[in-house]
């Protein structure tokens, strides 16, 4: 299959940005006008209305939980990275909703020791079962290397949401959660995604494998073409679905329904023993590899891969402008990612 060329992009090389949400002009498709606003800000309602929209999303999440809770042994599988957002999500589901949760963490080989401790502390404090899945290290390193070199593993628009390395990892994690949900007969999966990382309507996503087979099979084929047949075991869900009592799963992202600042999130999870890691690089609270993804993405495309989520938080009033500017300016340097690049097999001239 020939990959079709995307529409013309503005590309790196400009520091211009939306005056309200700081989305950089280098991000394709954002169309900053003469007034200095991007197309999202021109169409965006005031923060109060955004907060009301989030309340509506929360009502949708509540409805799914009310309708599908009560499964045995777990109500919900939580995609638990050990970072701040998934830790808060787990706390919310256990303490506010009283759900029986299974927390699943994927060890991609780049979890810091502090992250592993945070996973253990949070799950122990909440009394939650926790499993750690460690995919074959050779496979994931090859996946990261290929992702860094060839962005055609993902749709052209995926560069707006995340680095190619992160997008591949997220696809693998999402697939693993789906498989486990079908195998356990657990009808709900919860993620800790925030606005900008997934569409806002991703607060509730109804997964029906039969009906969505076409999109999934294209994704599986892309990974198989790039990484070989072994990729099927990480990206296909057919056998798990075939043996399951369930035919559909609801995926919820509770953070999309909340109006909460990062400081408030951290204050809440610190009560569980969560401690801000000091060994996960400068752009993440759970994964050391993020820095490599951010470095390559920002160098290649001219904008920070977190720009979209930061812009969402600015529009919603859950992040201060100075904090947003500091996050966008926090870019790893080549020396920071050299060791990571070597670990995934990137030659010096490949990143």
């Amino acid at each position: 299959m020939t990959k079709l060329s995307p529409a013309k992009r503005q590309g790196p090389g400009t520091d211009a940005a939306c005056t309200r949400c700081l989305l950089p002009a280098a991000m394709p498709g954002i169309d900053i006008d003469a007034s200095g606003l991007c197309r999202f800000c021109r169409a965006s309602p005031p923060a109060e209305v955004i907060q009301a929209e989030r309340a509506a999303l929360r009502a949708g999440i509540d409805a799914v939980i009310a309708a599908r809770r009560g499964a045995d042994p777990y109500d919900v599988i939580v995609a638990f990275s050990g970072g701040k957002d998934s830790s808060y999500t787990l706390k919310l589901l256990v303490e506010d909703y009283g759900l029986k949760c299974l927390a699943i963490t994927i060890d991609n080989g780049f979890l810091g020791g502090d992250t592993v401790k945070n996973c253990q502390s949070v799950c122990a404090a909440l009394g939650v079962d926790h499993t750690l899945f460690t995919p074959n290290r050779g496979f994931v390193d090859t996946m990261y290397r290929k992702s860094a070199l060839d962005e055609s593993l993902h749709s052209a628009a995926a560069i707006k949401r995340a680095s190619s390395i992160c997008s591949s990892c997220i696809a693998m994690i999402n697939t693993h959660m789906l498989k486990q949900a079908f195998l356990y007969g657990t009808p709900i999966i919860a993620g800790g995604y925030i606005g900008g990382q997934v569409p806002k309507d991703g607060a509730v996503m109804h997964v029906q494998p039969g009906r969505q087979a076409r999109i999934r099979s294209k994704m599986v084929n892309r990974f198989v073409d790039a990484l070989g047949e072994k990729a099927r075991s990480y990206f296909e869900i057919d056998s798990a679905v075939a043996g399951s009592s369930l035919t559909e799963i609801d995926v919820i992202n509770p953070m999309l329904g909340l109006t909460i600042t990062e400081a408030e999130i951290i204050a809440e999870i610190e009560t569980l023993g969560w401690v801000r890691p000091v060994d996960t690089g400068i752009t993440s609270t759970n994964c050391r590899l993020n820095d490599l993804g951010v470095f390559i993405h920002s160098k290649r495309h001219g904008f920070h891969p977190y720009a979209l989520e930061i812009a969402e938080q600015l529009r919603a009033g859950t992040m201060e402008r100075a904090e947003a500017q500091a996050k966008l300016a926090r870019l790893p340097e080549r020396k920071d990612v050299k060791g990571l690049a070597e670990k995934v097999g990137l030659a010096p001239d490949e990143y």
């Binding site: 299959m1 079709l4 992009r9 498709g29 993902h154 569409p199 009906r211 999934r216 294209k218 892309r222």
Partner: protein, 95 residues
């Protein structure tokens, strides 16, 4: 709104959101999923856009229809759902 008006709005959304250039190798009949120009998150964004912009409801059957994959098919789907709603409105008025 006529077909060309609907097509212009959907086309502009797809171009901006998914970086698809309809003046290039892609045309209105191109299957955007088959060509991997829209992924699963993009699918959610597309359906949300259609429902909000045209005030129609896209059913599970619509989402499984081949029509949802191409610009021309999406326009057909929107027109069909708008026609359904017009019938429902007429029935409400006369019923």
């Amino acid at each position: 709104m006529d077909s060309s008006g609907i097509q212009a709005r959907v086309s502009a959304f797809i171009t901006h959101e998914f970086l698809v250039d309809f003046s290039n190798e892609v045309n209105a009949e191109t299957d955007l999923f088959e060509e991997e120009l829209i992924d699963s998150f993009g699918f959610i964004e597309l359906v949300s856009f259609i429902e909000a912009e045209f005030q129609v409801k896209i059913s599970d059957d619509d989402m499984a229809s081949p029509d949802i994959g191409s610009l021309a098919g999406i326009v057909r789907l929107i027109e069909a759902r708008m026609a359904d709603m017009a019938v429902t409105d007429d029935q409400a008025l006369t019923g």
